[in-house]
């Protein structure tokens, strides 16, 4: 085949240009750390990475949701713990008040203390979360769930679930209805009745309320246990989320990120090829130049 001098120059120039493009491509890969930054570079890899990114975004959202739910549960548990402590103290006062050795004046004094504890319990029951919602109000979370005067529950039995991953939810609230007669005894009403019985020196009622306070104690323990179980599930979701984030990061990395060592090695090879092709071009031009020496 006849090859002209112009063809030789064209071919060597094209080779140098190709090698230069290769160096530019690998340099971009090394500097950006991305092997695939556009879908056309590797459509299936880009699709896989993009799907993983979407999952990661959704996972971040669910993680924030269950962390918020966890915070609410921690606050709820604190509230229930406070109420539980109050009920324990009231029960001790009830046992004392039920004793024949306690005088009417002593019961009146106890009544005052129980009334104070009742108010403290209602205040605890009306605790709000950091974002302003009443923790134990059910769906009526913008309204105080317990009447400050009577302790009557004004909320509902709705509980709230939060997302723990893309397709799963987990209950992350308890309603104040768990402290009402529907689930045993009405805890706050029991405290109110005890305060009244103590103030009126009604020993029989005081004695009868000790059993109700036992029920209230177990009711609170059961509710706290539910809260604890919910928190445990969220702890598991937190662990699973961490694993998912790692998995998705690996998926994205495998699909589109550059292997630095390989890319650096490729860059060295491409640079060497470019230098050689430039030398060849220079040699050909020199060879074809009739005025050049040699």
């Amino acid at each position: 085949m006849r090859i002209t001098d112009h063809r030789l120059v064209d071919m060597s120039t094209a080779a140098a240009s190709t090698n230069q493009s290769r160096v530019a491509d690998i340099s971009e890969e090394v500097s950006s750390g991305l092997r695939v930054s556009r879908p056309s570079q590797d459509p299936s890899a880009w699709l896989a990475a993009q799907r993983a990114r979407v999952r990661a975004t959704l996972a971040d959202g669910t993680a924030q949701a269950f962390e918020t739910g966890h915070d609410h549960l921690v606050a709820t548990d604190g509230t229930l713990s406070q109420i539980s402590d109050i009920v324990m103290r009231v029960r001790a006062l009830a046992i004392q008040g039920a004793s024949d050795s306690t005088s009417a004046d002593g019961r009146a004094s106890m009544s005052t203390e129980v009334r104070g504890l009742f108010s403290a319990a209602v205040v605890a029951g009306n605790t709000r979360s950091a974002d302003g919602e009443y923790l134990l109000a059910g769906a009526s979370s913008l309204t105080e769930p317990f009447d400050p005067a009577t302790g009557a529950y004004r909320g509902d039995a709705t509980t709230r679930a939060v997302t723990t991953d893309a397709t799963t939810t987990q209950l992350a609230s308890v309603a104040g209805s768990s402290l009402t007669a529907a689930n045993g005894v009405d805890v706050f009403a029991t405290l109110d009745r005890l305060a009244t019985a103590l103030s009126t020196n009604d020993v029989a009622t005081v004695r009868s309320l000790v059993g109700d306070l036992d029920t209230a104690t177990s009711q609170l323990a059961s509710t706290r246990s539910q809260t604890g179980s919910m928190m445990a599930v969220i702890e598991q979701a937190r662990t699973a989320h961490g694993e998912l984030v790692t998995h998705l990061a690996t998926t994205i990395s495998n699909a589109v990120e550059a292997d630095t060592a390989v890319a650096a090695s490729e860059l060295a090879k491409a640079t060497q090829a470019l230098e050689v092709s430039r030398a060849v071009s220079s040699h050909i031009v020199s060879m074809l130049n009739p005025t050049s020496s040699g």
Binding site: H6, Q41, P43, Q50, V54, G61, F66, T68, V162
Partner: protein
Amino acid sequence: MSDLMSLLGLGSAGIAAQNSGVAVASNNVANANTEGYSRQRVDLESVLGPPLEGGVRAGDAQRYASNLLASRIRTASGSLQMSQASADALSDLEASLTSGATIDGKIAALFSRLSQVAATPTDSVARDAVVNAANETVTNIHDKATAITDAQHAANSRIVDNAAQATLLAKQLADANKAVARTGDPVAADRRDLLAKQLSDLTGGSARIDRDGQLRFVLSGGAVLVDGTHAASLQTTPDPTTGLAKVEVVDGNSRRDVTGAIDSGKLAADLTFRDVTATRAMSQLDQLAYDLATSMNTVHSANAALDGTTGHAMFVAPAAVTGAAAALAVDPTLAADSANLAVAAPGTGPGDNKGALALFALANQNVASGGTKTLTDAAIEMIGAVGTEGAAAQGDVARDTMVSDHLAGLRDSLAGVDTQEELTNLARFEHASSAMTKFVSTIDGMLSSLIENL
């Protein structure tokens, strides 16, 4: 004496013939870098005659050319121009669709905000965040719709420009046919080949040289653009419905729509991009916007806002799939007040979040593309389709470049000027010319001696 005079004539003809060789070699070197130039040769032929006469004469300069090879080069070049133009257009659109936040990312962010508001449904900050995410999704879809429309209009402008350029080339090609017929000049034939290649680069089609020596250029589908010395024009007229240009071959009163027939060259690339790729991308984006709005609205309107009322839309209900992307908007009442975000089950209280969970659940439901894909998958695949097409076009560019390079090598092997070779030819003809000059001088001397001795 008369024989010596004949020898002078032989010498003179020989000098003229060798000088023709010098002239052709010089011309070849002078045109070594001229695009489309085919090297020429001069054929010397001996003149028959008695033993002491005879001599040499130079024929007309001949070009090294192959009509078959020229035809293959035109076809390959048209194909390369098409794949290159396709790759460029797709690369631009791909860059627009992937620059900044992608649609799938914005939709995922909206769902992410919905999962967060489910944890604090009455929190105005969380509710505002959902509305902001919805607004950002709308803005992103608008931006991408604009990018697709801009790309489509840019392709349309290129189609108009290239059609005008093709008309000019067709006229020049007809003129070149005229010049070849009139002069038979190899340079005119080179120019004709070059013009035919440039026209193929724009329109594809095929050119053949008929027995009358005239080149005819026919577009795919059979419309004749150049017939000998007569050229039709390639005109563009805006379609009354779309406003996009349709391409017609106009020859006198005859008009023939070739918009769908052109299958190679830059015009085919831009027509395919405008009428298939960009149209499909816009259609997919419209469908996505429609599916997003309708699926979200269905759930949203069934749930209750902060005040317990139901029937609120999340997005302005799209009138139709076509145009849904450009028309997509967050419902004005929701945009004005995030209290209208319906995230509670109807008949419960503001702290209920079942509506938010139902909206979030849409993230994993096949509510897009006729119930076959999730919204984010539909968005990813819409961008991915452009990328896949771009990758294929880049593959076509690599393949067509190889073919074109191979054919360029073949053409160069046949018709390319090698300056070293021409310098050798130059020396060869110069030496022969010098020798003939010496021969003439010798005969002249002999004649002078003869005349002096008379």
